[in-house]
Amino acid sequence: MPELGRAALLVTLGLSLYALIGGVVAAHLGRRRLARSAQNALVASFFTTAIAAAVLLSALLRNDFSFTYVARSTSEALPTAYTISAFWGGQEGSLLLWLLMLTAFGAAAVSLNRRWAKDLTVWVVPVFGAVSTFFAFLVVVVATPFATQVAPADGVGMTPSLQNPYMLAHPPLLYLGYVGLTVPFAFAMGALLSGKLDERWLVATRRWTLFAWAALGIGQLLGSHWAYVEVGWGGYYAWDPVENAALMPWLAATAFLHSVMIQERRGMLKVWNVLLVILAFSLSLFGTFLTRSGVVNSIHSFTQSSIGPWFLGFIAVVVAASLALVFWRLPQLRSHTKLESPVSREAAFLYNNLLLLALCLAIFWGVVYPMVSEVLRGEAVVLGRSYYDFFLRAFGLPLLLLMGIGPLIAWRRASLKSLATTFRWPTIVALASGVVLLLLGAGRSVPGLVAYTFSAFVLATIVLEFARGTRARKALGATTWLGAFGALVSRNRRRYGGYVVHASIVMLAIGVAGSSAFDSVAEAKLSRGESMRIGDYTLVYRSLDERVAANATKIRATLDVRRGDKELGTVEAGKNAYTVEEQVSNEVGIRSDKLTGEDLFVIAEQIDADGSVYFRVFVKPLVNLIWLAGLVFLLGSVITLWPDRREQRRLVARASEAGVPATS
């Protein structure tokens, strides 16, 4: 079996190389059959990679410890679900997953856009070929998942913190996001190489970019929830380098998704948009490099490896080659229109872009600073939470406000008088909310109060937009209010799906502000029967139990919870001792209030032999809004991503009107 896996990957490498070289020759010389052949190679590379993936998955499920990767990542006692997640838990498997997704995206994106952007996809094929050649080379030469050994009696098992249901979805979603950003990159490079810099590359990649961006967003939220319930330090985002690695390409892609609207509407920012695509893709490579190289100290770095230099080299080549292409095509990328006024929708989107980029670069500097300081001063200096929090407030709060302003002001130029009319009600709602919150004591955190006030403003604008739009659709002939609402959303999914996404970001902001700016913490060492207080809560330590599960011994302290005079039941916190892995993990106890979104979060920091336990307890107001925001974000993304047949027909008709080759 390992021979089949190795051979399949070797064939993938050959096919990718052919797609690259054959594709370049075909596009350069204008050879039709060779172009088709290179495209076939790209599609075939997906199937050969899928065979390799099937071989590895089969080895994992059979606990075939003659595969070094299987023995290093799993054990006999590991539950089946986590055995499957071991596919992407280790370096070699995750690189294989990258390659599998990449070849799938490449084959699908090229095939789906062939009909109306054929002259463009000819150059897209070799770009995909170049990226997949790199990843195929890694899994064939540098980090093969098919190395074998004399099979040991059992594997070494999986890091305990990875033995969590979130690990079934969080890493693949992040990878979908990282890899998905290859599609806009490949089409942007294809457009630059071919000189076909019309709008087709933007249209061809819009939904792919949205999909990658949504996957990255959901993946990060799942990762945050995993950190919250599993890592056991009391938070959900630690500005850890690997967490930041996923956030940076997401921010760059967010900027692109906004600025692309300016290009579509006004024909401006062509260079800027290509640069954003390059940045997002380079950051996705950088993110994979950070996660997989072990170059930075992170709670998420489960591997130390030698792939770092290869990745850095590839990132350098990608950045240098793509910037050279942009420079080459600069004359064709010049816009014919200019920004007419600093008070306009395009200006608001531009400010949004600048803030997103500033935040992204501040985070990037924070991530690379330990490496830079180690090179320059011989000592790795890590920038702490206060560094990131400062920039999150400095750039994040204005971004939040712009989310409400941008969609409501006119393109080209907006008069101050009409601004006053448009924003009258949202401003009143925001100010009233701010005053009420101030009276309720929210003034103890100024950034928190500002975040709440801005959130109220944005929510008011979103509600107003839906209400006005539905009323207009009703006036245009919809028979019912529900029908008018449906017509409003379905006729402009991008806009109204975008508003739903904005609403989710507001919920996220409220949840983050509530749980970080207004949280409280208490610590105490308790013996059985003793109690502690935090806020309105009283916790009484009742008992300590030990249970034996398939792969771990579970020790749990049980506490009775009371709020005022009301009994709220019990909460359990403790530790798991993993036998095979010889590691101990914190298992936190969380009691959520579904009405207020508040969490009571209990950590059993230390369990002594006499049964006394050192507890750390947090009260986190509104934290559950963060997870609810994930669902709303997903809903908004689905609305935005939903295929629009009218748009497809319009694009095909336009291409045919222009005489774009539409047949194979």
């Binding site: 019309d198 739009g469 291409a655």
Partner: protein, 104 residues
């Protein structure tokens, strides 16, 4: 057995890659379809037309909903209508210079 599968896989891939050449060993033309200069210019004009039309449509709808105030609407609607007219005229001109056999 694995090696047999691997060899079969490699052969199958070679066939898939060679398929365009096997299907058409001696084609009438092996030149890639590409846009001529005038077709590319026409595509840009069509994009310009669609951009102008969609901008006008959005302005009309946003004015109807009340998102865009009367003052901003009046300041912009004329310019957008002129953009649409200019784009349609440019397209018309490009149609006139197009050879008759290329017209739809």
């Amino acid at each position: 057995m694995s090696l047999v599968f691997a060899a079969a896989l490699a052969v199958a891939c070679v066939v898939v890659v060679a398929l365009p050449f096997l299907r058409e060993p001696e084609p009438e033309s092996d030149v890639l379809d590409d846009l001529e200069e005038d077709e590319r210019a026409r595509l840009e004009l069509l994009e310009e037309r669609d951009r102008a039309l969609s901008a006008l449509k959005e302005l009309e709808f946003e004015h109807r909903t009340g998102t865009i105030a009367d003052e901003d609407y009046r300041a912009q609607v004329g310019a957008l209508r002129r953009d649409v007219a200019a784009a349609l005229q440019a397209l018309g001109r490009s149609e006139e210079v197009r050879p008759a056999n290329e017209r739809k």
